[in-house]
């Protein structure tokens, strides 16, 4: 208990020193477990917003349900904590209603790839200009440790005590197959890398898919900080981000790469395309 308290205070103090971070942080103390990867992601999003000087009131953060779903509560912006799996259509509606807003859709692996997975191909093919942050901790956190769509095959969880029988989905491969116009991956332990990716993603005109690898320190004793720190590699600078097939090859690689896999800057966003087609 006092341990928990100290953790938050330390974090706070450290943060205050880093300029701008608190500009995008609400007054609510996160309800996440100490050590959860979500703290780092929160920080990186705040830093990216700060670096881009986004007016807080023009940001709309939409989330589903889960530990990740709590995110908007801790951000200083307009927020909508919606239903499990439904952040994407709601974020889409917000953007279509007011193109001036910067719209984020945030959710966990269960939220975005399980119950909400059906929305992804369609937001991608429509290329609606929102940025999706997938907080992938490979587990159902909030409901206490069941297998999710990205839990490794054979891993023991609270729902599969003998081992998860479902092969994990590969979020980057999915986003590429869906023709998302911006596809990238960050790691919760790599603050600078994340900030860089987030800035590119937010600036991108069209649908941006950002996959974030992050540990659930409470319910996943396999995919820990240590394991993760040693498992990821930055994408080589020589990678051509306009080459889909190359991106797919990277995504299918056994090693986990971090960085921007793919970006198509020429494709018009949904609203741009509508303007073209209806003015023609």
């Amino acid at each position: 208990m006092d341990h928990i308290e100290r953790f938050y205070i330390d974090e706070k103090l450290a943060d205050i020193k880093k300029d701008g971070f608190l500009n995008y942080r609400s007054k609510e103390l996160p309800t996440w477990c100490p050590g959860c990867g979500y703290f780092g992601i929160t920080q990186a999003i705040a830093k990216a917003c700060n670096a881009l000087s986004l007016p807080n009131e023009n940001i709309c953060v939409v989330s589903g349900i889960g530990c990740a779903g709590r995110y908007p509560i801790f951000m200083k912006a307009y927020g909508f904590h919606t239903l499990h799996g439904r952040s994407v259509p709601i974020a889409s509606g917000i953007k279509l209603a007011n193109e001036d807003l910067t719209v984020f859709a945030v959710g966990g692996d269960g939220d975005m790839l399980g119950i909400g997975g059906g929305h992804l191909p369609h937001i991608a093919r429509k290329n609606i200009d929102i940025t999706l942050f997938l907080f992938d901790n490979m587990i159902y956190g909030l409901t206490k440790g069941q297998s999710s769509a990205t839990t490794p095959l054979g891993q023991k969880t609270n729902s599969h005590t003998k081992g998860n029988p479902d092969s994990p989905l590969k979020p980057i491969s999915l986003a590429l197959a869906y023709d998302a116009s911006f596809v990238a991956r960050g790691f919760a332990g790599d603050l600078d890398g994340m900030q860089d990716i987030f800035m590119k993603a937010i600036r991108h005109k069209g649908f941006s898919f950002v996959h974030l690898i992050t540990p659930c320190v409470t319910f996943d004793k396999v995919n820990t900080w240590d394991v993760m720190r040693n498992g990821y590699h930055p994408i080589h600078e020589s990678h051509d981000v306009t080459d889909r097939i190359a991106a797919m090859r990277l995504a299918e690689d056994q090693r986990f790469f971090l960085g921007v896999f793919y970006q198509d800057e020429k494709r018009p966003s949904y609203q741009e395309y509508l303007r073209q087609i209806h003015s023609a």
Binding site: I73, Y78, F80, T82, P89, S92, G93, A97, G118, L274
Partner: protein
């Protein structure tokens, strides 16, 4: 000058132009100044031999229901038409093809099934069509031509109506149709000896005013949405609501709005709620199966206090059910809504005019009270065509109803502030000091999740309190008839209400002491009026198009008394004739 009030049915197979013939007839009669109500039924299969019926009631008087009995049956397909004979009046007219295409079986010829009193006109539709245009396709037009000749409808005007219908087609199509019509007209004039007394030529008509439009329920809803300033329509196709989406797809972009076709109904309502959150008017339209998928989100709109308008045009159920048949059996589902105590606005128009009116209301109320408004139509109402006076546009107050926070509010903004009205000033994204987080979790005045007993009670009360304000915004229920000592009080809703009204008027004409009540606003319900009505009536009768009496069950909690029910699940609109009969039956029992 005589009055007229007749029902014409055209019956054929899918692909035979049955529905188009009905449409042309109705439009033409309307252009002449008749009141019309038309309604088609067709199979849910695209092709094959599915049965189509175009039903039109045509009168120079007010029409409230489609009419149960047929005066003129036009047969394009014999075997499909045999069951329709039951509805033909004793001395009704049957027009049929005296040279029909090959039958599957001998006893499927319509001729063998007609009752003795019926007046049958055999016309060689097939060969006349062939003669006129080289193919049997024009049989429907030949039939229209024959009708014009037989029942005194002007030939030239009718031709113009046909040309209008096919105006966008190639000339050869227009010609084939007009020629087929002509062929039928001439043949009938020459060869048919008229045995009936039906004629339109001697009827006294009201003057055709300019702002009279022909429109069905779906069109009325779409027009009202456009007139109410809708900015996003998000939809997924489903019978009988698809047409609303298609109209939006055409019309919204012209007004700077967006029609978004989504991957499913979850996404459709999700986008609507998103747009509502961002401060723009938005709507979706579906039918029962789609609505079931939306139920979770309906609860979110209520809980997070976001405006959303959802149309549910009901069809036969349960499950995929009877996609092209009408029913009023989604009421319980819509009233119950999502999980938990989830108060929402429910509006059920009973006429095409009310489709327009209730849609405007839905947008206004949803926005002002920051909640979900459901419009309950049904297959019949969506597709039944009426000629109506052009409705008046929503006024300024209705067009911009969001209550924004004042500067003082924003100093220490509580998005979900507990107020007397239940309405908390709502900041829209983009407002510098208004930032808040909306959530589907229970939450305190600032939107922060909170599960303590006090907060949950206060917030639930707040959500329910809005209903009191809403009730005051809408005119009270229709109460037609005496205010006390009524023998039979008929209460109804949705499309059945119009039939019920007609039946009550008829019953009063024959001396029954009956009264009628209905409300376009089902939730919140004007309980006071219903209780008063109930107190004034010896017997209460609730007719509706479902098996178990869903509205009757709902009313029971307010009326605390036995309720007579009249339920029909024929897939067809409620005949006012059936309600009339039931009223007479009750009147009889009361006398004993």
């Amino acid at each position: 000058m005589a009055d007229i009030d007749i029902v014409i049915e055209i019956c054929g197979s899918a692909g035979e132009g049955t529905i188009s013939a009905g449409e042309i007839l109705s439009r033409h009669m309307s252009s002449l100044g008749f009141e019309i109500m038309s309604f088609d039924s067709y199979p849910s299969e695209i092709r094959g031999f599915g049965k189509c019926v175009a039903h039109s009631r045509i009168s120079n008087q007010q029409i409230l229901s489609p009419g149960k009995y047929t005066d003129i049956l036009v047969v394009l397909n014999d075997s499909h038409s045999i069951p329709q004979l039951h509805a033909v009046r004793e001395n009704g007219v049957v027009i049929y093809d005296s040279q029909p295409p090959a039958y599957h079986e001998e006893d499927k010829s319509i001729a063998g099934w007609m009752a003795p009193g019926m007046i049958a006109y055999g016309i060689p539709l097939h060969s006349l069509a062939n003669k006129a245009a080289g193919s049997a396709r024009g049989r429907n037009m030949v039939a229209l031509g024959a009708m014009a000749a037989l029942f005194g409808i002007d030939e030239e005007g009718f031709k113009t109506s046909i040309m209008k219908r096919y105006a966008t087609k190639k000339q050869v199509v227009i010609d084939s149709n007009v020629n087929s019509f002509e062929e039928g007209y001439v043949w009938a004039k020459k060869n048919v000896q008229k045995l009936d007394h039906l004629t339109f030529s001697k009827v006294k008509l009201r003057k055709v005013t300019q702002n009279r439009i022909i429109i069905n329920g779906n069109q009325a809803v779409a027009q009202a949405a456009l007139d109410s300033g809708i900015k996003l329509f998000a939809g997924y196709p489903i019978t009988p609501a698809t047409k609303i989406m298609e109209i939006m797809g055409k019309e919204l972009p012209k007004r700077g709005g967006i029609m978004l076709q989504t991957e499913d109904e979850l996404s459709a309502i999700g986008n609507v709620i998103g747009a509502g959150f961002a401060g723009k008017r938005a709507m979706t339209a579906t039918s029962g199966p789609g609505f079931t998928l939306m139920t979770e989100m309906t609860g979110l709109a209520v809980m997070a206090e976001v405006p959303a308008v959802v149309v549910n045009s009901q069809r036969g159920g349960p499950s995929t059910g009877l996609p092209t048949k009408t029913e009023q059996s989604d009421l319980s589902l819509v009233l119950a809504g999502g999980s938990g105590d989830s108060p929402r606005i429910v509006l059920a128009p009973s006429t095409v005019e009310e489709c327009y009116e209730s849609t405007c209301l839905a947008f206004y109320l949803a926005e002002k009270y920051q909640t979900l408004a459901v419009l309950l139509l049904d297959f019949f109402l969506s597709n039944s065509i009426r000629n109506i006076d052009e409705p008046s546009l929503p006024d300024k107050k209705m067009l911009s109803a969001n209550i924004s926070p004042s500067k003082t509010d924003l100093k220490d903004y509580r998005r979900f502030q507990l107020t007397e009205s239940g309405i908390s000033p709502r900041a829209l994204p983009g407002t510098p000091l208004g930032m808040f987080v909306a959530t589907g979790l229970e939450h305190n005045e600032r939107g922060k999740p909170a599960y303590d007993s006090k907060t949950h009670l206060e917030m639930t009360e707040k959500r329910y309190r809005k209903l009191d304000g809403i009730l005051k915004e809408v005119s009270p229920p229709t109460w037609d008839g005496p205010k006390a000592n009524v023998d039979i009080g008929v209460i109804s809703w949705g499309s059945t209400a119009a039939s019920a009204h007609e039946a009550v008027l008829k019953a009063r004409k024959v001396g029954v002491n009956a009264a009628f009540m209905s409300s376009m606003l089902l939730v919140p319900l004007n309980v006071d009026h219903f209780v008063k009505f109930s107190a004034a009536c010896k017997t209460i009768l609730v007719p509706e198009l479902n098996y178990s009496g869903q509205f009757a069950a709902h009313l029971a909690q307010y009326l605390n008394r036995p309720i007579e029910k009249l339920n029909r699940i024929t897939g067809l609109p409620m005949p006012s004739e059936d309600i009339f009969e039931k009223i007479m039956e009750i009147a009889d029992t009361q006398k004993r």
